[in-house]
Structures are given as C-alpha cells and as structure tokens.
C-alpha cells in the first residue's frame, strides 16, 4: 500500500488554487458530494471568497510560506500520517479559534489527523463539549479525509494537563462529559483545594482505570491519554507518571516530548512574546516534585527535559520496559503574527449567566498582525507522525497506543523508517514501538532510512539534517523507587554525520553478541545548536528563533532476549 512511492499523505501537499472546491467556475452540480460539502463549509466560515480564493487567517512571512513538506515513509503496509493531539478553540477560556479555522490550517500544513482539546472546566463540561461536537461533526463532513477527533485537555488531578480522547462514536459527547465531570482537576478542586495531595493523585489513577474499563467493556473502541508539557511546572512527578501507566498501560501511553507554544521564545522586536520556548519559564512551587533540577523547567532544543535528557526520565521509564511514547504538538491557542483576536465574550467564559458561558464568539479579523502570540497552527512547526495501518480513527489511535510514532520540528526531514532485525539486508523487521526478539548471543541490526527534506518549510528554508544519534539503554526491569528519573545505562551509542546534500540516507548499526534486553531510540538535528562542549541539545536561550534549532525524535524499539 505504501512502499517506496509517496503515500496517501503525499496528497496533502495540496494547493488550493487547483482544488475544484475553491474554483467557483466549477459549479456546485459538478462537484462530488464531499467536495460540495467542503465548499459549503469553507463558505460558511468565510474562507471561500467570491473570487474563488481561500482566505488566510495568518499574515506575515511565515504564512506566505505555507507549502509544507509532506511526510512520507516506506514502511511496509503502514501509512505514515501526520497529526497533532493538542489544539484549543473558542471553547477554551484562553483561546479563540473556531474548529473550522484549525481544520483548514491543519490541512494546509499537511496534517492528517487532529485532536481538539479544550481545557476542562465546569463551563466546558456543561456547555462546550456538546457545542464543540457540532463543529467537529461539521468539519468531519466537510473534510472526510481529515480525521478530526474530539478530546479534552484534562486537568490531571494533582498534576499537569493531558490529552484524553476517544474515536468518534454515537456516545462521544456523553463519554467526554462523564469523564470530565467525574475526573477533571478543575472541577474537583473547589472541594479539594490542595492540588498536590494523595487524594487528587488517586483521582488521576481512578480516571485512567475508568478509561481502560470503558475500552475493556466495549463502550468505546479505544481511549488514550498523553501527558502534556510534562516538565513545565515540575508537577508531573516520576511516581505519578508510573502510576498512570500502571493504571492503564493501554490508555496512559505517553507524553509530549516537545511542548507546543514553540513561537513563545520569539523576540518582541519580531512580534513574539519573548517568553521562553514552549512558555517554559516557570520555577518550582510547592506542588512541584522537589527532586527535579532547576533546568527541568526549561526546554532543550524545543523539547521537554524529560525527553531531551539522555539517561533522563523518559529513559528511566523505557529502561523498565514501559511502553511510554512521545509526541509533539502545537498547543495552538493564538497564532504568532495572526491577525485574529478573540471574539465576543472576553471575560465571560466562566460566567454561567452569560451567553458566552463556555464559548466565545467567533474570532474577529483585525487586519493587522497581533503582537505577542506564542503559538503555531497545527502542523506549521510541530508534527507527530504515526504509522497507521489504515486511514481511520481507530487505526491512528492503535498506532499511537503502540508507539509507532516519530516527531519533529520545522519539517526537518521528509520521512523516517527505522527497522530492527537480525540482518541489514532485511527490508522488513520491527519498527518504532515494537519488540524484537533475539537469542542470547545473537546480533541485532538497526537500519535507519531517512529521506531528507526537499521543500521549504514554513520558514522558507529547506532544513539540512546534520547528525543522527542512535541511543540505547538496557532493560533492567521495574524499579523499586517509583520516583527514579535517571537511567545511567542509557547512552548515545553511535552518532552518524549526514553528508551535506544527501537525499536518501541510510545508516546501520549492529549490536553484536547480545546478552541483555535493551532498547534503541533515535534523534536527529540540523546541528545548529548544542550544549557547550557537547552534542546534547542546548538549554534554549531566550529570545530564540525556533527555526534555528530543529530536531526529530523517534520512539523506541525494544529488543528482548528470547
């Protein structure tokens, strides 16, 4: 289905000028039903003008370079689909866009699947979930090839935020409301004001048990939870993460390896907020895990400290053999250099007497770029690429649950295929998230195939991959201390320098005479920024141009002794 040719995601290198939906000289009667639905959708939100052009929500140099690199990869029968599981709309108290705006922008940025995740709250549970569903349903009808999930940004009791979502079903609204009303930290907090308490931590694991139970009972085909911006405030302690994973190993499966808000470090002189990349500018509080070092609260090459640290918290989970995966998302609230401001109802979101309770009006185009916005559109900068067996909601969720994902910033590469096998000649083998079994004393070959970026990214650059690091660590079994966040045995096993201008890049590495279970994972960089005297990612300075330091990370493959 998707071997060496451009896969289905290739059709996302779309150009609206050649789309009959946008060409008003093509009459409605000449359009297919789905195209007609999409035309009505675009007209309804004011994006399709009489001149037949698709309007834009963004201005400035970045928007001008909207043609993005489609993500393709050759991996047997897998479709590598780009997505984003962290997106906010007018149904969040701190956001503004319509679902439709996000869908249109995501399409422009070659996104195949997306999860709408507005913040949990009383207003959201009472009002927003149902209203969001109307908009999401409309978007699904208008764009049948875009998988639009409706989820929630859950206030994890006693911890940070997380994405929770189900595939579409007839009961998706009910399930989201039930979950949120029962388990959202913001809803629980008035009666339990101490945020960081055993009671609240217990509520979090209860919630994940509940999600897992809904899947077991067949009420929903799947349910997933990912911890968002896990190091931002230091409140996701190592034992909480382990407890979530224990409560629902098939549900609580990962975290954002890179937070959103990647434009937050852009200088004020360039219209950015000049906060910190990812808005990671916090310091420890009484709710923080006291063991985390100060640098944990900052990003490294745009990635969260838990992921960016070799031998750090993520590796400590992988060393245990935990299936704990990473993603990268936009967390899009208000987009850098966009011209739209929040619609009617500012300040009224939480007022149950207001008509804007749980929902702002549609955003208003001011006609000029608004300074201080720190986000990008879905797919504009961050991308989670999922190896699905079909273009379907459940297939995408299965792939995410199984860790068949890699992530990148700035469209650093076009495609990635990682295989573990006993021989370098094999074209098949175990790919990301999988487990490969080897006899004691046998060899394990890791084959890495990368297709370099060939088109300009949204900053107008064709990124040049400079180096790929193969990272490995032993599997040593479950730790006794659930607050461990170090894995001393995990190291960069091999760094591969990429020849400048190379398009199809292949690296292999052989682990000989294997006598212990272990895992491998990958990262790659454009090589523009590293920590002083090191190949490790740099603690991000502020201000920073996020396009000046690009990385990709791949989820692990486990190698188990037979």
């Amino acid at each position: 289905m998707c071997s060496d040719h451009q896969p289905e995601s290739g059709d996302h290198d779309h150009d609206h000028r050649h789309d009959p939906v946008n060409d008003l000289s093509v009459s409605n009667s000449d359009l297919s039903p789905s195209d007609l639905s999409r035309r009505h959708f675009l007209q309804g939100i004011g994006l399709l003008t009489a001149a037949g052009t698709v309007g834009t929500f963004a201005v400035g140099t970045n928007a001008a370079a909207a043609a993005t690199t489609p993500v393709a990869a050759a991996s047997g029968e897998l479709l590598w689909l780009s997505g984003d599981h962290h997106i906010h709309t007018q149904y969040s108290p701190d956001a503004q866009y319509t679902v439709a705006q996000h869908v249109v922008q995501a399409k422009r940025n070659a996104i195949d699947w997306m999860v709408i995740t507005d913040h949990g709250s009383v207003a959201h549970e009472k009002v927003s979930v149902a209203r969001t569903n109307v908009d999401v349903t409309s978007a699904r009808n208008a764009f049948p090839d875009m998988l639009v999930f409706q989820g929630l940004e859950w206030n994890i009791p006693g911890a940070e935020h997380g994405t929770v979502f189900f595939p579409p079903t007839e009961i998706e609204v009910l399930m989201l409301q039930l979950f949120e009303g029962t388990f959202d930290g913001a809803i629980l907090r008035p009666a339990n004001p101490k945020e960081n308490s055993p009671f609240m931590e217990g509520k979090a694991t209860d919630a994940i048990y509940w999600l897992a139970e809904q899947v077991r009972a067949g009420r929903v085909p799947a349910a997933l939870f990912f911890a968002n911006h896990p190091s931002r405030r230091g409140v996701d302690s190592p034992h909480e993460i382990r407890n979530w994973n224990d409560a629902g190993p098939g549900v609580a499966v990962g975290m954002e390896g890179a937070p959103g808000h990647q434009a937050a470090g852009i200088a004020k002189t360039l219209g950015g907020p000049e906060s910190a990349r990812g808005f990671y500018d916090n310091t420890p509080t009484i709710d923080s895990f006291p063991g985390y070092p100060l640098e944990a609260y900052r990003t490294f090459g745009g990635f969260d400290w838990m992921t960016a640290t070799v031998g750090g918290l993520w590796d400590s989970l992988l060393t245990e053999g935990r299936r704990w995966w990473i993603t990268a998302n936009s967390d899009s609230h208000s987009v850098y250099q966009d011209t739209f401001r929040r619609g009617a109802g500012d300040g009224k979101y939480a007022d149950p007497t207001s008509p804007f309770f749980g929902a702002y009006g549609n955003p208003v185009d001011t006609g000029a770029a608004i300074a201080g916005n720190g986000d990008f559109w879905p797919g504009f900068y961050s991308r989670t690429v999922v190896g699905a067996k079909a273009r379907s909601y459940v297939s995408v969720m299965q792939a995410m649950g199984q860790g068949r994902m890699w992530v990148m910033h700035g469209d650093l590469i076009s495609a990635l295929d990682v295989r573990v096998n006993g021989t370098s000649m094999a074209n098949d083998g175990i790919t990301l998230g999988g487990s490969y079994s080897v006899k004691r004393g046998g060899d394990v070959v890791v084959t890495i195939k990368i297709t370099a970026a060939t088109k300009p990214n949204n900053n107008g650059q064709i990124p040049q991959l400079a180096r790929v690091d193969l990272i490995s660590g032993p599997q040593t079994g479950r730790t006794v201390d659930k607050d461990t966040f170090k894995a001393a045995g995990t190291v960069v096993t091999k760094s591969f320098d990429v020849q400048k201008g190379a398009k199809d890049i292949t690296f292999t590495y052989t682990f000989k005479d294997v006598r212990q279970s272990f895992y491998v994972r990958l990262r790659g960089t454009d090589g523009k920024a590293t920590a002083p005297g090191s190949i490790e990612p740099r603690l991000d300075p502020n201000p920073i141009d996020p396009w000046s330091d690009l990385w990709f990370y791949a989820n692990p493959i486990f190698i188990d002794l037979a």
């Binding site: 969040s92 108290p93 701190d94 913040h119 709250s121 206030n155 935020h161 930290g185 913001a186 931002r232 405030r233 937050a264 470090g265 200088a267 907020p273 906060s275 910190a276 808005f279 500018d281 916090n282 310091t283 420890p284 509080t285 009484i286 006291p290 100060l294 640098e295 900052r298 490294f300 939480a350 720190g374 920590a531 002083p532 740099r538 603690l539 300075p541 502020n542 201000p543 920073i544 141009d545």
Partner: protein
Amino acid sequence: MDLTIALHTPTVDLPELEHHVFTWLRRFDDRGEHRPIVREIATHMRGRYVATLHVTLPGSVGTENAATLIDRFAGDAEACGFHVAIGETHGDVASRCCVDAAPPSTDGTNDRTAHHDLRDSMVEHDTQRSGRLVTFDGYDKLPMQSTVAAITMSSAIHEIRALGADVSDETEVVLDGFVRPQYEAGRIVLYVTARGDGLFQTYETADPHQCCGGLH
C-alpha cells in the same frame, strides 16, 4: 536584638506571599527610630509557602520595649491572617522560638504541622542551608544590568551559576529589578540562563507565563 520571624498564610504562590509580607511590614513604617531593620527576607516551600525575616531591633528599642514590639509583631501578623513564629537569634545559633501564634482557625481545627513548618523554615534560614531570598544585603542597589563580578562585589550574592552554560566575571546579566537568589549550604547563589543576544538573565523572572490566563 536580632530576631527571626516566620510567617505563613495560605497563598497561591510566592508573589502573593511576598505581597502579604510587604503589606504587613508597612505597619511598622510609623515607628521612626524604633522601626525594625529587615536584613533579609527569604521564602521556603515546605508543603506550604513560608516567609522568614531576619530582623534587627534598633538599640533605641531597649530590652523592655523589645518584648512589647515582639508582641506587636505577633499581633499584627495574626491580624493580617498570618501564622507567625518569632525567635531570638544569638550569633550563629539558630533562633529560639519565643512566640508561636496562629490566627483564629476558620474551620475550628488547628493546623499543627504549620508550627513545625515555621520552625523548620527559621532553622533553614538561620543556618543558611536553604531559602529563596527576596531581600538581602545590597539587593536594592543592584542595577538593571551588571557583570557577574560587579553583582558579587556589590551584594551578598556569592556566586552566579548559569544553567546549561558557563559565565565569567565579565558576563553581563540582565537583572530587570527582580533578583531571587537562594541559599545553598551557606552560600548565596543566583541562577541565570542564557539569552539569545549573548547576555544572561535571571532564572526566575517577575512575570512568568500564566497558563490558561491564570485560571488553572
């Protein structure tokens, strides 16, 4: 006479605690020559936010008046909603607690652990083991930007440590009027991070991004 005063009131974050402490201190602005001299203010996190103050009573206060003044400290602190502990310090010896008072409990229970948290925080500050400093010797003379050498020469800060980078005596640090160093084993350390323009800035900033408009 040297005192260590520890204060706790339920607050959502450190800036709010600092605000309450400074509001309380303004009550003593009318004391003229008997006005207590606040040498250092530190904050601590012990499951709750605690502020500790190193205070010197002017010699003009006199031993007899000191007891009255301490009582006033405690009374005003209670009136401001603080749980307060006051200790007398002698040289390097940690404070011996002479006052431990709490405002009337709103739910009819006494928070026993608060007492221990106040005492422990006093000891932390007195022994200079830990504590995030809000005021310290020379803090009010620090410019908006200065070199590492000048900062350590002109204030009580012993050392400037960069996270993820190195600094030298000549490194310029943007202070922006908000400097919160911390005690580490008897030394006052200011942490900084690199800026994109070759300068450094303080690790803790005055106005970090508020998630969700501060709603969560």
